[in-house]
Amino acid sequence: MESLLVTQAINVVYEVLILAVLVLGLAVVMGLLNVLNIAHGEFVMLGAYTAYTVQKAGFPYLAAVPAAAVVCGVIGLLVERFLIRPLRYDPFETLLATWGLGLLLRKLVELVFGRGFRSVDIPIGGSVSIFGEAYPTYRLVLMAIAVVVVVALFVWYARAATGARIRAMVGNPVLAEAVGIRTRQLARNTFVAGTAWAGIAGVMIAPLTPVEPFMGLTLIVNSFFALVVGGMGTVTGLFAGSTIIGGLQSVLSASVSPTTAYLAMLILSILFLWQRPRGLFPRP
């Protein structure tokens, strides 16, 4: 019984961390740049298909990481140039444009790979015994990577000069430009970093989920509402949102039903959107 509880607890932590990884790219794009990229889930989906292709071609799974980053980064670059920048990074307009983009990417992938599920083999098999219960190694590895990445990002954003430049640009773009920050390139690089990371996140989760053209939709819903609840533009908000949404989903799914978990998340998000649209820990 106790060991079961431990497994459950690890599962909750796992769900939260995976959500944090998925939210990360969106947090960069939406939280920092105010671009409501509703096609973000499609970038994760593209990353997952890249992983599938790389694995099918017989390359080592790790090769999928740079491949997905390049695929999604290049597409992100094009999207920034031809969609986001012409719309002046306006939240409302980009929401609409990326809505169309999501449709486009889903259909393109459907055309190339078909509608069916693809499965990606787990690159690190086996399991580790924790308090007598076997737990899949790959999941533990993923959790470790997630922690490292999020903490590294936190430190980098707080300390590195680029982090300061991004904060300056977000706080006051005109002034930032005036003190010599090339806001155009910086915004572009930030956007591309967000989409590239979405691709990497896709590689990470691909072995654990059915890979299909519509997988991005469910992912975007959770990530999006995690940001809404947590608050945009802060690392604390990212953590808080992922913990609340991921934790709620995981606990309610296990104890009641996945439907209840999903509805509870939606209701919570509606309450936040209505009463506290900037979330728990918004950017000041």
Binding site: P91, L101, L103, K107, L263, L266
Partner: protein
């Protein structure tokens, strides 16, 4: 009126005649796209007019469809079945009205949060529709829904749907030409200005949303007997997204745009989906192009036809607007120890000041003294942290822009705030209606002809106000200042707040504006509070000058008294006190 009947009569006739041209099979198919068109028209109305994008209209279609399915199955072949359709739509409209009132009330941000709430709602509705099998039939939905009694043939229901669509087009067309339509466009243009003219913006938005839900409800209620089947797909986010795409592709700003969008995309999809797998990519690309470059959608192609429109440029007959019920005395304001903070910055630090017998009070003080903030906190644009604000001797706990405006406060902002996309006439009309419309006035197009002696006088003084068909965005900065001043004046306020009314005006314009202010003060019996830096202007206008400094009252008196005050000198010139 004549042109309205001709236009909509033609559309209705065309819709009814379609089966003769395309045959029964296509007419049946078209019936379904007409239903989509109904719902898309609602999206066009809220999004294209009022600027509120609903991302979950499918939920309202589904709600009505399930209701109608139960109603029709329960009633069977009794003629009462025909009551089910409007009843289901009305229920949905009422629900939409209540829901949106709750959401809009007290939230004036134009961000995407309402859109996202509707999106989350439709996701929840889909989940409920799929899992609550005992009621909704689960994933497979409700089957074998009876048709409407007497409408058994393939085509019978088509005619009903065509008539409903034709009448709905006429209904929406009428609304958009009525004063209500102008107010919706004003919301999209400048919500704050509308509130400061005394309009209940949340209610106006909720009415727009309720009309959209009524249309979605009609679509859903007719969908049930048309398809004899209702599935959760209607509540799915893809269908809600399709409705947005129909409206965008067709042209969201027009009545017919969403209808054309739904029919064109619907028919082409049905024809091409199987034969041409790239088809949906074409739709997605076109949607992106619309967002990027072509906000008018397909309707842009028909724009040249506007010139052929019957009775174009016809102006309604001028008529005298009803008098505004108005207390005779000017409105008095008192600040008692009012405090305002934003974050760590103290903006008003215990400001106490009261209006007296003077007609024109000039508020001066160095930058950051809290002059504009004082007006903001009094009109509800800034929250106060302490102290009391007395309007006409009544302690107003939480001032709201619209309520303050209705109590007789007119405000002109520092940077001109008008409705840029509306015409000069519409700008003036909206200001004039404020506080004068009663009951169903907002549905009467004759309101566009309203005028008052005050408005006539302002038009005489400022010639450009006469070229009424011009968009306000085409005016120069100075003209916009004067337009906004006129809008504030013709509401016949008992207290007029002017924030640097002559900033950016030419020498001549300044003289004209001062003249107009002097005239208004004599003919209207109102109080005017002016924020001004230009001491020349202050000297000419002020009965009393109040000086603020660092969020506090510093001195008051006549211009000479204030200028002689050593404290005031110290603040302006520096030096020791």
């Amino acid at each position: 009126m004549g042109s309205f009947l001709v236009r909509n009569g033609l559309i209705l006739a065309l819709l009814v005649l379609v089966p003769t041209f395309v045959g029964e099979f296509w007419a049946y198919q078209l019936g379904l796209y007409f239903l989509y068109a109904l719902a898309a028209m609602g999206v066009g109305l809220t999004w294209g007019q009022a600027g509120i994008l609903p991302l979950g209209q499918g939920m309202f279609v589904a709600l009505s469809a399930y209701t109608a399915a139960y109603g029709l199955s329960g009633i069977g072949t009794s003629p009462l079945a025909f009551v089910v359709i409007p009843a289901a739509a009305l229920g949905v409209a009422l629900f939409g009205f209540l829901f949106s009132t709750v959401v809009f009330r007290g939230h004036s941000d134009r961000g995407p949060s309402f859109s996202l709430i509707t999106l989350a709602l439709t996701l929840a509705a889909f989940q409920i529709a799929t899992t609550w099998s005992s009621v909704t039939g689960g994933f497979n939905g409700l089957r074998n829904i009876p048709g409407l009694p007497g409408l058994d043939g393939f085509l019978d229901l088509y005619y009903l749907i065509a008539v409903v669509l034709g009448l709905s087009i006429a209904f929406v067309d009428y609304l958009l030409r009525a004063p209500l339509g102008a107010l919706w466009r004003a919301i999209a243009d400048n919500e704050r200005r509308l509130a400061f003219l005394g309009y209940d913006v949340a209610a106006l938005k909720a009415v727009a949303f309720a009309v959209a839900c009524w249309l979605a409800g009609l679509a859903g209620a007719l969908y049930a007997p048309q398809q004899n089947l209702v599935t959760p797909d209607l509540a799915g986010f893809a269908f809600s997204g399709d409705l947005v795409i129909f409206a965008a592709v067709g042209g969201r700003a027009t009545v017919l745009g969403p209808v054309i969008g739904a029919i064109v995309v619907g028919v082409l999809s049905a024809e091409l989906r199987d034969r041409f797998p790239w088809w949906e990519i074409v739709i997605a690309l076109f949607f992106i192009v619309v967002v990027l470059r072509l906000p008018g959608g397909l309707m842009t192609l028909f724009a040249p036809l506007e010139r052929l429109r019957l009775a174009r440029g016809q102006t309604p007959r001028a008529s005298r607007a009803p008098d505004k019920p108005r207390a005779a005395a000017p409105l008095s304001v008192g600040f008692e120890d009012v405090r305002v903070r934003m974050g760590d910055v103290t903006i008003l630090d215990g400001l106490s000041v009261k209006t007296g017998d003077e007609a024109v009070l000039c508020l001066i003080g160095p930058n950051g003294a809290g002059k504009t903030s004082a007006l903001n906190v009094m009109t509800g644009a800034l929250p106060k942290r302490g102290g009391r604000i007395l309007i006409d001797g009544v302690d107003v706990l939480r001032p709201e822009p619209a309520a303050v405006a209705r109590s007789g406060v007119g405000r002109k902002f520092q940077t001109p705030s008008v409705f840029p996309k509306l015409t000069i006439d519409e700008n003036l009309a909206i200001a004039l209606w404020s506080g004068r419309w009663r009951g169903f006035d907002l549905l009467r197009p004759s309101l566009f002809g309203w005028t008052t002696p005050l408005l006539d006088e302002m038009r005489r003084r400022f010639g450009f106000l006469g070229s009424g068909g011009k968009a306000a965005s085409d005016l120069s900065h100075g003209e916009r200042q004067i337009l906004e001043l006129t809008m504030a004046l013709i509401t016949e306020p008992r207290l007029l707040l002017l924030d640097e009314p002559c900033a950016g005006l030419s020498h001549e314009e300044t003289a004209q504006v001062i003249d107009a202010i002097q005239w208004a003060r004599q003919s209207l019996n109102l109080r005017i509070i002016i924020i001004e830096h230009d001491m020349e202007l202050v000297r000419r206008l002020a009965d009393r000058v109040v000086v603020l400094h660092q969020g506090r009252f510093l001195a008051d008196g006549s211009v000479e008294e204030v200028q002689g005050n050593p404290d005031v000198r110290a603040v302006y010139v520096g030096g020791s006190r």
